[in-house]
Symmetry: C2
Subunit: 136 residues, 2 copies
Amino acid sequence: MDIAEVSRRSGLPASTLRFYEEKGLINSVGRRGLRRLFDGNILEQLSMIALARYSGFSLDEITSMFSIDSTIQINRKTLFDKAEELDQKIKKLTAMRDGLRHAAKCKAPRHLECPTFQRLLKVAGKAQLKGKKNGK
Amino acid sequence: MDIAEVSRRSGLPASTLRFYEEKGLINSVGRRGLRRLFDGNILEQLSMIALARYSGFSLDEITSMFSIDSTIQINRKTLFDKAEELDQKIKKLTAMRDGLRHAAKCKAPRHLECPTFQRLLKVAGKAQLKGKKNGK
DNA sequence: GCTTGACCTCAAGTTAACTTTAACTTGTAT
DNA sequence: ATACAAGTTAAAGTTAACTTGAGGTCAAGC
């Protein structure tokens, strides 16, 4: 599979694929002349990466979580911790979603003055943002 | 309330508060000499902003969703659409969380080879990332 | 009335995750 | 053999969301 096909099938521009390879997130299996060749399973790897990115993990975190060459088993505790982190995040997103839905219906002149909205805010604020830089 | 107190109580550095004001996300109510003065409700506004940021909205989106000066009611449909977006995201995050939890327990030599993991991936991939640039 | 510490502005710097550009190479079709 | 479309590299550019730095201001305490 050449880079164009991977690009077409994954939806990612070739430049991104090269960038990911340079970063060590993915690997090409060889070259035909200058041109990279990719293995079929690259597509699943890329889906995984896309999902993780979308979930808010940085490329560096993803590298350490899924990289092929890392010590045979990725530290189970790390994975579990990541899952916990996500769980917290899901709770906040849910509060936000409900808040937005409410706001779309609410008659209060300003959302911040609506008690329902404020309650949601409070709930969401519970698990304070103690994360690193990238709190997305 | 001066900037130092807002900073202390919100946990945000003064530089961020100035930056937010410059961007139009928040407003100071006046000055004492050069120094900004903030109203008490600024703290709730900042919680709201923090939650929205954490939920993956960009500052520009937040500005248009919550800015004080925008047309009296923010477009209900927009709010609803944002809620839907979040709902999709919550589904993906849930898949990711379950995936990670599974990975932490799974005995398969490589997670990508584990059928449970692959199933999760497939589910998560359903609502494709058709978003703009900022898909976090 | 002078110092000082907390604030101010404006410009430039930083980081992540890419994208763009310029100049080069090569397998395939003619 | 030659052209050329599609690849390649290395370096510089881009955007969002801030942070840092240099140099200036001012209200309050001594």
